[in-house]
């Protein structure tokens, strides 16, 4: 068993007791709520005549079903309207803060938590959403839960969990030109597999991780679940603290920052900590990386050939064969030049200001390919506002991108933003499952925001490093 890691320390600080099942009862420091997975939990609570135990430790927003175009109420989609109305009634009736679209604070739940300073080091954070692992970027223990567990948290402020093993993933060296956090995590999942992290929490460390800003760390922790790990984290450091200082929680309250900093420092992994497993990856060898299949583990560097299923471990062959048939790719080819119809820049993985800035810098002075519909969906209203203040929206619109309102959008196609027929998308999101983007014949190629920008411009999967710089006016 691990000892002295951030995971061990945060676990111990939040452990209430050992349950008769052998699980530990953990206090939840922050419970984030959205409209898709919570209504049934509030319903169960009501059935049992119980109230929300810790409303002040709970925060809600709407992201999955919210339209990214016309947002006049009632929403044109009746199902979306009823989910929104249900959420409003549930949270307002319970005294839960709600970052709704009128607040200017609405956005994808994993974007708004960090930007408002709700997400802090050393917290336990849960949400009925598997990408809750995102918040681990701040040195929090953050994981997704199911609806019955949401009921647990609403009713008791706690979750029942078993302690997991800790794998340290050390990414050494400096990243090359055109290589981003997204390429790191796609490479990790490609190497360790989509179930390699089952039973583990991932601690991301090493020079290449430490060099990343908070946005990059969030992209990596976000996709821990795609590697089977329910949670992933990065130890808090000066980069973390700089971000926190600018948030609502601490911008006007430097005393609170100083008061909490010793706690944050205390939960950092010890120098002599013990891990259940350690994996080292050479960050300097990572290329811009994309998926060629229908799981996030089916990845290749942009210059690497798509593998022959028969060369893969036996248990991966069938999945690979089905994936290649669905994607219409051939072993031996690279993904470079794969035609795309849609470019989607958005999602809780990659729709923060830095992601938009990098993509905009590439797009400026270029045009979206005639055969591509391209959209940018900012992660939150604050991201949207900040991007507009910098004129990024104009850059994208001039190039031919659709500039939309914040939400989960085409990551999972629960609103109107969906693939049609067998369209192929270059997507900055996190899942390339069959049907994920709203069409069961749709094809998704996961990649970084700048690679999405490059694909939008050329109409095909493109090695962003091969694109000449465009002189900006």
């Amino acid at each position: 068993m691990s000892e002295g890691t951030l995971y061990d320390k945060v676990w111990d600080r939040h452990k209430v007791t050992r349950l008769p099942t052998g699980q530990d009862q953990l206090f939840v420091g922050l419970h984030l709520v959205h409209e898709v997975t919570s209504p049934q939990a509030f319903g169960m609570l009501k059935e049992r005549g119980q109230e929300v135990a810790f409303p002040e430790r709970t925060h809600a927003t709407v992201d999955h079903i919210v339209p990214t175009g016309n947002r006049d109420r009632p929403y044109r989609d009746e199902a979306a309207e009823s989910m929104m109305a249900e959420l409003e009634a549930n949270v307002r009736g319970s005294g839960i803060d709600f970052s709704d679209p009128d607040s200017g604070d609405q956005g994808i739940v994993h974007v708004i938590g960090p930007e408002q300073g709700l997400t802090q080091p050393g917290m336990t954070i849960v949400c009925g959403d598997s990408h809750t692992s995102t918040h681990g970027a701040f040195g929090a223990l953050a994981f997704g839960i199911g609806t019955s567990q949401i009921r647990d948290v609403l009713a008791t402020g706690c979750v029942a969990m078993e302690k997991q093993k800790v794998r340290r993933i050390e990414v050494t060296g400096e990243l090359g030109e055109g290589v981003t956090a997204k390429d790191i995590i796609l490479t990790i999942i490609g190497k360790l597999g989509t179930d390699g992290g089952v039973g583990y929490v991932y601690e991301y460390a090493g020079e290449a991780i430490e060099d990343l800003g908070m946005e990059g760390r969030m992209s990596i922790c976000n996709m821990s679940i795609e590697g089977g790990a329910r949670a992933g984290y990065v130890n808090p450091d000066e980069t973390t603290y700089e971000w926190l200082k600018g948030t609502d929680a601490f911008a006007d309250d430097p005393e609170a920052f100083e008061r909490l900093k010793p706690y944050w420092e205390s939960i950092r992994t010890d120098g002599d900590a013990e891990y259940d497993d350690v994996v080292t990856i050479d960050g300097s060898a990572i290329e811009p990386t994309v998926t060629w299949g229908t799981t996030p583990g089916q990845t290749a560097g942009i210059t690497e050939p798509i593998p022959d299923p028969d060369d893969l471990p036996e248990e991966d062959r069938d999945t690979a064969k089905r994936a290649q048939k669905h994607m219409r790719v051939e072993p031996g080819d690279t993904m470079e030049g794969y035609d795309i119809d849609v470019a989607f820049l958005g999602s809780c993985t990659n729709a923060r200001l830095k992601d938009l800035r990098e993509a905009a810098a590439f797009v400026e002075g270029r045009e979206v390919d005639d055969d591509v519909r391209a959209m940018v969906v900012p992660g939150s209203q604050r991201v949207r506002d900040a991007a507009e203040a910098e004129g990024l929206d104009e850059v994208f619109k001039e190039a031919g991108f659709d500039w939309r309102e914040p939400g989960c959008s085409m990551c999972l196609g629960m609103n109107d933003d969906q693939l049609e027929g067998d369209e192929a998308s270059a997507s900055s999101s996190n899942r390339n499952f069959v049907g994920r983007q709203g069409s069961k014949d749709g094809r998704t190629v996961l990649m970084s925001p700048i690679m999405v920008a490059a694909a939008a411009v050329t109409g095909e999967v493109t090695d962003v490093r091969e694109m000449e710089e465009v002189a900006t006016v």
């Binding site: 007791t17 997975t37 609806t147 029942a160």
Partner: protein
């Protein structure tokens, strides 16, 4: 079928010591939650009626014609034990996935391995997720295919799956087994009993203001 025995607690914690019935095989590794229930069917505020959407896009084409899928096949009607391969239920945390399967009629899932959140969600519904070796699972899938009417018995406490003359050595994760066998899988009731200790833990955390802990500042 599992035998309902209600505990004395306020919530209906049912002991699930064994599950018997007929099997239905769904083959393939990495069957994700988007396949088990596509997101468009999650635009609902209850879990009622989700059963019919299980594996929907695997079962129907664009014109709503049935495709080849075990969930469409007559011989598996009434089956309650789903037999799957590796990393079943990977992807999202949506409880809609096990809810859909349960409402279809699935009482237990046997497979090579399961994604963690999926297995946890199954437990919250009292649906065991039982694992066994690849060879044993494939043999069980073959058997069920050849004998769709034959009985399959899962003994949760003894960690075995029995069919025909064969008994497989299976695994039911410790905490899950204890919870199911002792009927303590309703964690809301379990944890609700420790209210005092919860407040104490909350108060000990430097980031939790006193007024956030009920009974303190209010």
């Amino acid at each position: 079928m599992s035998s309902p025995e209600f505990s004395d607690g306020e919530a209906p914690a049912e002991k699930v010591t064994e599950v018997s019935g007929t099997g239905i095989p769904v083959r393939g590794n990495d069957i994700d939650t988007d396949q088990i229930i596509p997101a468009r069917f999650m635009k609902v505020v209850t879990f009622d009626g989700l059963g019919q959407f299980s594996f929907f896009d695997q079962r129907f084409d664009d014109e709503d014609n049935e495709k080849d899928h075990p969930f469409n096949e007559e011989q598996y009607r009434g089956a309650n034990i789903l037999v799957v391969n590796a990393n079943f239920g990977c992807g999202s945390s949506r409880e809609h996935a096990p809810q859909a399967l349960m409402r279809w009629g699935i009482d237990a899932v046997v497979g090579e391995s399961f994604a963690e959140i999926f297995a946890g969600n199954c437990l919250a519904l009292g649906v065991p997720t039982v694992t066994a070796d690849q060879e044993d699972i494939e043999a069980l899938q073959d058997y069920v295919e050849a004998n769709p009417d034959a009985e399959v018995d899962i003994d949760v406490a003894a960690e075995t799956v029995t069919y025909g003359d064969t008994t497989i050595d299976a695994t039911v994760h410790d905490a899950q087994r204890k919870a199911l066998v002792e009927g303590v899988w309703d964690t809301t009731a379990l944890m609700g009993a420790n209210e005092g200790a919860v407040r104490e833990t909350a108060r000990s955390l430097p980031y939790v203001p006193a007024e956030d802990v009920p009974g303190d500042g209010a």
